[in-house]
């Protein structure tokens, strides 16, 4: 009665016998024979020799037999393409059958036969089926287009199937819509820029309607497709969220996770103070918890994704610590993931519970798990300061167990704890030293040697301990060797008298007997340091180390944002961007979270080119190459072409670095080195720079042109000065403004780290115009995670003066409870234009004539459609005063004066050609100032 009988063989040879049966007259026998063939096929036996005989059975009314033959065809057509043609006629005939089941079956099977000759015949039937009256046929045909595209993409495009497929998105039947979306998504993967899924509010609406009615698999396709849509505003995004939320209660976990992805992405656009935002956060937690009671494989994928979600929005699951407690029968891969999330959720409130659990885990059997548990205890200590003491004592208990791998892991983490809390737990060193001999893993040995070296002055027999390691120096791994070298040098610097011999020994081992270049180099550096200047050596080797950060394994914010857009996919399981591992990564586009509306929070990633509803004009960020070119232009030669301008923004660091370096390297122009008060000299460099900058100005005008500027002093939009990833989660963006004669620095501080930030303070380096904070930084409340705070800092110009390069560069240090961070920014020079900058006409005339010609710079500002009156009014708002105006040859000439806070006057002539939107500025005095003035004034005009 069972199919096992199909596997029995007889003496004559299977193939021979089957052949005879296939050609039998009896229907029943034929069918049995085909079944036998299929059975052999499923286990990988080659039955392709029977091809003609099986194909002969195709012309039958028996549906089961037909299906079986089709199964056979799909498998073997490729190996017998000529024979497969024999089947075409039957297929074409079946596509016209009255029974929709047979029509669909035929078109489906034809698509699966990957033979070029057959695909040619497929087009006509497929076209008919795509327009079939029966939705079952249409939905099958939709998938068939994807199949055909896989075989012959060009053919699909030529035949216009893609357009037909797009039309199916508006089909009346939800299953057809879902399949069309699925097929289009698959095709789009190999066509990154084809914009196949042209999503607009109408199609989105159709998809959302279909979402409610189609099968669970269709829902997954539709949700994934929705996730790639960018809503126009927060209202649209909220309405989509509302319609997607019910999917969180679906029994299919893949639907749930896809819905989570859509919500996580669109949530980004909702203002945080919205009630709905809070509701949504609350709704996300229970389904995620429920995923953890599913089968272990599902749990694993869910946990990898929760790991991302917890990093992005820790508030969602902060009360759910207990569900991540490890169960004894969890598979190891689930256990390890749970541990990771436990650490991420650990906080002062739940640390006691977490520690108790971790201690239990450390006594488990599975070695990998135990190791990770021990490591986790260390990470708790570093993350939650209040728990550090308890963690250390737990670790000591574990060391007492003398289980080899536990001890080693514990020592590795204790090293980190020492670095985080210096001079607090050194009393445990003695216990650690007792276990010196049992350490056999390089990492543990290296950690132990580091401890001995670092605290050599407290360990009486440090020299003996280190000497014992030295015996087998050449057998150690590089990690240990390097550490040993450093530790002995440290020891020598601390106890120079007793350890001279030891240090010589290690230096000679490292430099003469080793062929590892790293080791040798380090050895030589120490050797020379020690022989030339022991004091300097001490400063270098025993320098104070920066504290280690709280969470070492956080995913970098830009990557995290991208991964959040890929929740539920392989990328989220591997925590790598899809471009890093998907085959043919050309098809992968980088996805970004939409920018948040309303709040002034700027997105971290500089290349969020998407025009979201944010009010700030997008910054033009030149690529690295352009930037370099730009800098070169500024400093060296006057090119005629326009180069993209650099807004004083994100690329700051790079610019400073390169600029500074270039200056000293290639441009020895005296103008650059000249002090502020020095007589103006050596014009070429500055003159050259002016046109370049002027050219760039045009771009700025373009940008600023569309945005309504307030009258009065121009205030640039806030730009990001300090990136969160460079400052342990603190992001600072800001701008400068002059309000009522007072210079203000407007800052937005955003906490993107996991912990609260307090104790903010700010300080400026000496700068060209003596800018200094006129009061302390007013951040009164602690800054909790994901919170943004806006502060205005009044500035005075009475600080110490030092010429900066570029002139308007300002170096700022911001301190908080975590660390001190440095960044530099550039202020618009218009900030320094004082209100009494109107020069007397006579004085102006006299001064004008006195200016030597080579103090003059000029450049053009393009595409400004303003007449001279409007321009002069606008400029007056920024304290640039028009002294006189005359008209020569259809050109308006404006003569203007500006006074800087340090009393320097700048005079300008502005030529406006009516009808020709080119402004020419001519400039005098203080050319190095001029350069900045021109650059920064340009937005003022617009």
């Amino acid at each position: 009665m069972t199919d096992s009988k199909y596997f029995t063989t007889t003496k004559k040879g299977e193939i021979f016998e089957l052949k005879a049966e296939l050609n039998s007259d009896k229907k029943e026998k034929k069918k049995e024979a085909v079944k036998k063939v299929i059975a052999s096929m499923t286990v990988g036996k080659d039955v392709s020799a029977l091809f003609p005989d099986v194909v002969n059975c195709m012309q039958t009314d028996n549906l089961e037999l037909k299906k079986l033959v089709y199964l056979y065809l799909m498998n073997y057509a490729k190996s017998q393409p000529d024979m497969a043609i024999m089947a075409v006629n039957t297929f074409v005939k079946d596509c016209e059958d009255l029974n929709p089941l047979i029509r669909a079956l035929a078109v489906r099977t034809m698509g699966c036969i990957r033979v070029d000759k057959i695909t040619e015949y497929l087009c006509e039937p497929l076209r008919k089926c795509l327009k079939d009256e029966d939705p079952y046929v249409r939905k099958t045909a939709a998938v068939c287009v994807a199949k055909l595209h896989d075989i012959n993409a060009q053919l699909v495009e030529d035949q216009g199937f893609l357009d037909t497929l797009k039309d199916l998105i508006s089909d009346s039947n939800p299953m057809v819509v879902a399949n069309a979306v699925a097929a289009l998504s698959e095709i789009a993967e190999s066509h990154p820029n084809s914009n196949l899924l042209d999503l607009n509010p109408q199609t989105i609406n159709k998809l959302l309607t279909a979402l409610n009615e189609c099968t669970e698999w269709g829902q997954i396709f539709i949700l994934d497709c929705l996730a790639s849509y960018l809503p126009r505003d927060d209202r649209e995004s909220q309405s989509i969220c509302e319609r997607v939320t019910p999917r969180l209660s679906h029994a299919n976990s893949a639907v749930v996770l896809s819905a989570v992805k859509v919500l996580m992405k669109f949530m980004e656009m909702l203002p945080k103070d919205l009630d709905y935002y809070g509701t949504l956060l609350k709704k996300l937690a229970p389904p995620l918890v429920t995923l953890l009671s599913a089968e272990p494989e599902l749990q694993y994928v869910a946990l990898r994704n929760i790991n991302l979600i917890v990093q992005k929005r820790p508030e969602i699951l902060k009360h759910e610590m207990k569900v991540f407690f490890v169960k004894y029968n969890d598979p190891i891969y689930v256990k390890l993931e749970k541990l990771d999330i436990m650490i991420r959720l650990a906080s002062q409130a739940n640390i006691a519970q977490v520690l108790a659990e971790l201690k239990e885990y450390a006594t488990e059997v599975d070695v990998d798990f135990v190791r990770k548990a021990v490591r986790a205890i260390g990470r708790c200590a570093i993350k939650v300061e209040q728990s550090a003491e308890r963690c250390v004592s737990t670790l000591l208990d574990l060391i007492q167990t003398k289980v080899n791998y536990v001890v080693q892991e514990a020592i590795v983490v204790i090293k980190d704890i020492f670095r985080k809390y210096p001079n607090k737990y050194e009393s445990v060193i003695a216990t650690l030293c007792e276990n010196l001999d049992s350490l056999d893993e390089p990492e543990a040995r290296a950690a132990m040697i580091w401890i001995v070296g670092e605290y050599a002055e407290r360990i009486d027999n440090a020299d003996e301990l280190l000497e014992s390691f030295l015996e087998g120096f050449h057998d150690e791994s590089t990690q240990v060797q390097l550490q040993l070298l450093t530790a002995i040098v440290k020891l020598f610097l601390k106890k120079p008298t007793e350890t001279q011999e030891l240090v010589q020994q290690v230096l000679s081992l490292a430099t003469q007997d080793s062929d590892n270049p790293d080791l040798r180099d380090r050895g030589y550096i120490y050797w020379r340091l020690l022989s030339t200047d022991p004091v300097a050596a001490k400063e270098v080797v025993l320098a104070e180390k920066p504290l280690i950060s709280e969470e070492t394994d956080l995913i970098e914010p830009t990557l995290l944002e991208e991964l959040i857009c890929h929740i539920g996919t392989l990328a989220s399981v591997y925590h790598k961007p899809p471009s890093a591992f998907v085959e043919g990564s050309r098809g992968v586009q980088h996805k970004r979270l939409p920018p948040r509306a309303g709040s002034g929070e700027s997105t971290e990633s500089p290349d969020v080119g998407q025009s979201g509803p944010s009010e700030a004009p997008p910054a033009v960020i030149p690529s690295q190459g352009d930037l370099l070119g730009d800098l070169l232009n500024l400093d060296l030669a006057p090119p005629t072409a326009t180069v993209p301008s650099v807004q004083p923004s994100m690329q700051m660091g790079a610019m400073d670095l390169l600029g500074g370096g270039l200056d000293s390297l290639v441009c020895s122009s005296p103008a650059m080195g000249a002090g502020l008060g020095a007589a103006p000299a050596a014009m070429p460099a500055s003159l050259g720079s002016a046109p370049a900058v002027g050219g760039g100005l045009g771009d700025l005008f373009d940008l600023g042109g569309g945005v309504g500027m307030p009258t009065g002093s121009y205030v640039a939009p806030k730009t990001v000065w300090l990136l969160a990833m460079k400052a342990k989660g603190l992001e600072i963006s800001g701008t400068f403004a002059r309000r009522g004669g007072i210079i203000q620095m407007d800052l937005s501080l955003t906490n993107k780290a996991m912990s609260v930030m307090t104790d903010f303070a700010i300080q400026f380096n000496r700068n060209s115009f003596g800018l200094a904070p006129a009061g302390p930084l007013q951040v009164l409340t602690p800054l909790s995670p994901n919170q943004t705070i806006d502060v205005s800092l009044p500035l005075s110009t009475s600080g110490p003066v030092m010429k900066m390069e570029p002139l308007n560069n300002l170096q700022v240090a911001v301190k908080n409870n975590i660390d001190v961070f440095y960044f530099s920014c550039q202020y618009p020079l218009s900030l320094l234009f004082v209100e009494d900058g109107k020069m007397d006409r006579q004085v102006f005339l006299a001064t004008w004539k006195d200016i030597p010609n080579d103090n003059e710079a000029q450049f053009q500002i393009k595409d400004i459609h303003l007449n001279s009156d409007v321009a002069s009014n606008k400029l007056q708002g920024s304290n640039i005063f028009t002294i006189a105006k005359r008209t020569v040859e259809g050109q308006d000439m404006l003569y203007q004066s500006v006074k800087l806070t340090n009393g320097i006057w700048v005079l300008a002539e502005m030529r406006i050609q009516t009808g020709n939107p080119n402004y020419t500025w001519m400039c005098w005095r203080r050319p190095h100032v001029r350069e900045c003035v021109s650059q920064n004034d340009s937005p003022v005009i617009s």
């Binding site: 069972t2 199919d3 199909y6 029943e28 069918k31 299929i38 059975a39 499923t42 286990v43 990988g44 028996n62 549906l63 079986l68 199964l71 029974n99 089941l101 990957r114 079952y136 998938v143 068939c144 994807a146 199949k147 299953m175 399949n179 993967e189 099968t215 669970e216 698999w217 209660s249 679906h250 029994a251 976990s253 893949a254 896809s258 229970p286 918890v289 429920t290 009671s293 494989e297 599902l298 694993y300 994928v301 869910a302 207990k322 569900v323 169960k327 004894y328 190891i332 891969y333 006594t363 167990t401 539920g568 996919t569 990328a571 399981v573 591997y574 899809p578 998907v582 085959e583 992968v588």
Partner: protein
Amino acid sequence: MIHSLFLINNAGDLFLEKHWKSVISRSVCDYFFEAREKAVEPDNVPPVIRTPHHYLINIYREKIFFVSVIQTEVPPLFVIEFLHRVAETFQDYFGECSESTIKDNVVIVYELLEEMLDNGFPLATESNILKELIRPPTILRSMVNTITGSSNVGETLPTGQLSTIPWRRAGVKYTNNEAYFDVVEEIDAILDKSGTTVFAEIQGVIDACVKLSGMPDLTLSFMNPRLLDDVSFHPCVRYKRWESERVISFVPPDGNFQLMSYHISAQNLVAIPVYVKQNISFFETGSSGRLDITVGPKQTMGKTVEGLVVTVHMPKVVLSANLNATQGTYNYDPVTKILVWDIGKLNPQKLPNLKGSLSLQSGAPKPEENPSLNIDLKIQQLAISGRLGSFISVGCDSLPAGPCDKALLLLTLF
């Protein structure tokens, strides 16, 4: 999308392969075998394995690995869910999902797989639809087929496939209209040494067996729906109505299905029905230890505790156990270090007790850790979350074939 499927048994034999796109050589499974070897236990094989050109996503069910091959970015949960569905369908068709049943029904399996997936896209996964397309094997049917020459493949398009309720076929008729609902609640709880609950959650499912004619429209309501933390519904449930009225309203599929599952994590609601007195100690000298465990009832609301099993994970140094059980049998496996005490029914008059000595590896230090105890039990007809019983009401909104004969509530709990 899903490219291929390989079925591999516990011994590492590949016994079935199915390709939905081009054929992928079975050598791709070598990467799986490698991971399988590394994992030691079959349960520990990582679900997602990366190979140079493919990804292998696998599940382990009934001693069979279902290994699927994908080539492009596909949601892994989608694949895993689908593989579970495959396993469930086999179970549904053949009564069990094992290597031998699959081999016995290899042609049906092949037809099923072909029907479930087209080019890697799921086609028909609802068991109602599948059963109309490909009839499940029964002895009677195969006999009839042999005599009449008819096949077990449906000739017409399944009716439910395209309606908005794909889970129900049209024209269902019963002489006896019945609907059964089983409420099954599972507690997962961790207690500490003193018996305080560290962690407890309730996982509940409502399984239904509905045999009603026509297109019945049912509602089911709870007394206190607010207790439910998270619910997952069968696609047949109208979510809007649940959102607004907290009433489960649905047109049920025909036959057995899982209506909903829910999750309750509020700990104070969970009353643990038994208590355990345990004393496991190891002596400093003599390489031995003593064990004494007593189990007794607590808050069982007069119901009997059944299927009581105590599992103890002993420290590694415990070689053997010489114990005496007043009720049930015990077994100590010296390899896995697990002591299993199967008690059965709990008799409140005479509490079961397990007592005796443990012998340890000589010379080994006294184990530090306290062994953890796992207690499994079953109680019929008791809702731990205290919400069910008379709390559920079932209403029939529309039943064209006359009123419901019986709407029975059958509670299987814990």
